[in-house]
């Protein structure tokens, strides 16, 4: 199945929510990439005399308790969050797909072992498990990513296993077996390309979730450590100023909202675009 640009534009025209989601995601990625060009200040530049200023033309989002420009820090935060979200999802999906397809295709004992491990991870609340893992490995952005990644893997294992189980009985997969294609090649050539749709949808929705969990971890102090301009960490520091200096916590919060909502709306949109039943 080929997706024409025309079809994508058609869907965006019809579906306002997808359009909004796409704009949000493009916006966040753009500011993340172009951060040094947009920002007038250094994100870690301290300017104590100008601390906790309200939003003005010099400081669009005001300044924080060290006098750093909140606008600059929020923009740089987009870089961190996008990197964190993407790497968590890509790594988790990669590992998850690998084990999921083995589980589904091989069946039997291997399947039972992989599914038992998956169920074990899934039986913890994901936030609590990620917390415990990070605490065990020591706080820090990298360890948080690793922990969230581990927590997210089972989702992809399950997704892939289900897909493989269904696709394995398709006649084109059986046909591939009759001309002697090896199991690894069957999975790579026939099964994975045909379950890209649900995988891509799950991954896009997963980016939002991953960013949210990583930010929450930073908020409780286990993820990114101040003065890293990470949104969750910024809100954590801003908490004590929240009543008098609303801008300090509000803007990082707003950007988390935009990013997560953008990816969620985009994920729903991708589902529509990749659905072969939606018209060309």
């Amino acid at each position: 199945m080929i997706i024409s640009p025309k079809k994508i534009i058609g869907i965006l025209e019809q579906n306002t929510l997808t359009l909004i989601g796409t704009i949000m995601v493009v916006f966040i990625i753009f500011i993340g990439v172009a951060a040094p060009l947009i920002c007038p200040y250094d994100p870690n530049l301290m300017n104590i005399p100008a601390r906790l200023q309200a939003p003005s033309l010099a400081h669009f989002f005001g300044t924080d308790e060290m006098g750093s420009d909140v606008f600059t820090r929020v923009i740089y935060g987009a870089r961190i969050s996008i990197t964190v979200g993407l790497s968590i999802v890509v790594i988790a999906a990669g590992i998850g797909c690998f084990f999921g397809s083995i589980s589904g295709y091989a069946g039997g004992k291997i399947d039972r072992i992989i599914m038992a491990a998956t169920d074990m991870v899934l039986s913890f609340p994901s936030m609590v498990l990620a917390l415990a893992l990070t605490a065990a490995m020591g706080p820090g952005l990298f360890n948080t990513m690793l922990a969230v990644c581990i927590v997210r893997i089972p989702l992809y294992v399950r997704l892939m296993r289900g897909q493989v189980l269904a696709l394995k009985e398709m006649q084109y997969v059986r046909a591939a077996r009759t001309f002697g294609e090896s199991p690894a090649k069957i999975v790579l050539r026939h099964i994975i390309p045909n379950c890209l749709t649900p995988l891509l949808v799950q991954m896009t929705l997963g980016i939002g979730d991953a960013i949210l969990i990583a930010s929450s971890m930073s908020f409780i102090g286990l993820g990114a450590q101040p003065p890293t301009p990470e949104w969750g960490a910024m809100i954590a520091t801003a908490r004590i100023y929240a009543i008098d200096q609303w801008w300090y916590a509000a803007f990082p919060g707003l950007f988390i909202l935009i990013t997560v909502m953008g990816f969620n709306l985009l994920g729903d949109g991708i589902r529509d675009i990749l659905d072969p039943r939606s018209k060309d």
Binding site: M1, I2, M170, Q171, Y172, R174, A175, A176, R177, T178, F179, G180, E181, R189, H190, P193, N194, P276
Partner: protein, 316 residues
């Protein structure tokens, strides 16, 4: 003449485990013996669930037979390992019933047709492409279709693509598992014509599975009638269809609706009789109007009605 493919006493039992761990056994094939000579086409008919497709799956080794042997050119292939089997895979190929699920929706026609050759790994990319064009022409399609995707084709065209794919490795035997039953009548004729002309051109051997007696008559020299995992009658298609000897074959032929004749509903209620517990006797016992005591106690041997026309019935 030495048969190209011989099947001896082939049995397949499926085990179904229930929730409490006890297993129920379903005998899909209860000992099938057939032989096919080179260049011949053997039709297999029978009602749904009689084991026709299981037979095809066993011959092409998508499933392991429980007992019995499949002999290709004097070599027993029924239990050889996957690696050794890979070399023999190219000699037997299959065309499935459903033209919609038998082609991967994300591969172009070229990718679909060259895949079996990639597995063989003998040809260069250019040679494979030429071969793909040649195959498309064989099934009456233009080479401009190479870069298109399966969803752009109709059912008949897709089935022709499936046939082309099955022929990429130049097999000796083609298993046709109801290749026309999902198609319109006009398209059926087209596909059947292609199959007959291909058989002449390439000296192919067909095992043609169908429940449509007219189609089987058109394409096959010999026909085997199956019922509940057993062959009931086997012989030249003309004999089977014009002078059937087995009560089941007679009933099958009666059930074919003919335009202009009043249609009598076949007495299907007989079919609901539980006859899973017949161990020694004839599996058709409970439905057979001529059944007698001997039929329940002893499995009927094949009796030769004519030299090549065998009937598994005490009364044949």
């Amino acid at each position: 003449m030495e048969p190209l493919l011989e099947i001896r006493d082939l049995k397949k039992t499926f085990k179904i485990k229930n929730f409490f761990g006890s297993t129920t056994e379903v005998q899909a094939l209860k000992g099938i013996s057939l032989s096919i000579a080179k260049g011949e086409s053997l039709g297999i008919v029978g009602e749904s669930g009689c084991g026709k497709s299981t037979l095809a799956n066993l011959i092409i080794r998508l499933d392991e037979p429980t007992e019995g042997s499949i002999i290709l050119d004097g070599q027993d292939i029924s239990h050889i390992k996957e690696k050794a089997l890979r070399k023999l895979r190219s000699r037997i190929q299959i065309v499935f019933q459903d033209p919609y699920s038998s082609l991967s929706p994300r591969m172009t026609v070229e990718e679909i047709l060259t895949e079996p050759m990639c597995v063989e790994g003998v040809k260069t990319t250019k040679q494979m492409r030429d071969k793909a064009v040649e195959l498309l022409e064989l099934v009456g399609m233009r080479s401009s279709n190479l870069s298109r995707y399966p969803h752009e084709f109709s059912g008949g065209q897709r089935q022709r693509l499936s046939i082309a794919r099955a022929l990429t490795t130049e097999p000796d035997i083609l298993l046709l598992d109801e290749p026309t039953s999902a198609l319109d009548v006009s398209v059926q004729a087209q596909v059947l014509n292609i199959l007959t002309s291909l058989q002449k051109q390439m000296n192919l051997t067909y095992l043609f599975i169908s429940h449509n007696l007219a189609v089987v008559k058109y394409i096959s020299n010999r026909t085997a009638v199956m019922y509940r995992g057993k062959v009931m009658e086997i012989g030249p298609s003309k004999n089977i269809l014009m002078s059937p000897a087995h009560p089941y074959t007679k009933k099958l032929l009666e059930a074919v609706p003919i335009v202009g004749k009043p249609f009598h509903q076949p007495d299907t209620e007989d079919g609901s009789v539980n006859d899973g517990d017949i161990v020694d006797g004839c599996s058709y016992y409970y439905r057979c109007p001529f059944a007698e005591k001997r039929c329940l106690e002893q499995q009927p041997e094949f009796l030769a009605k004519e030299a090549s026309h065998l009937v598994a019935c005490w009364k044949g």
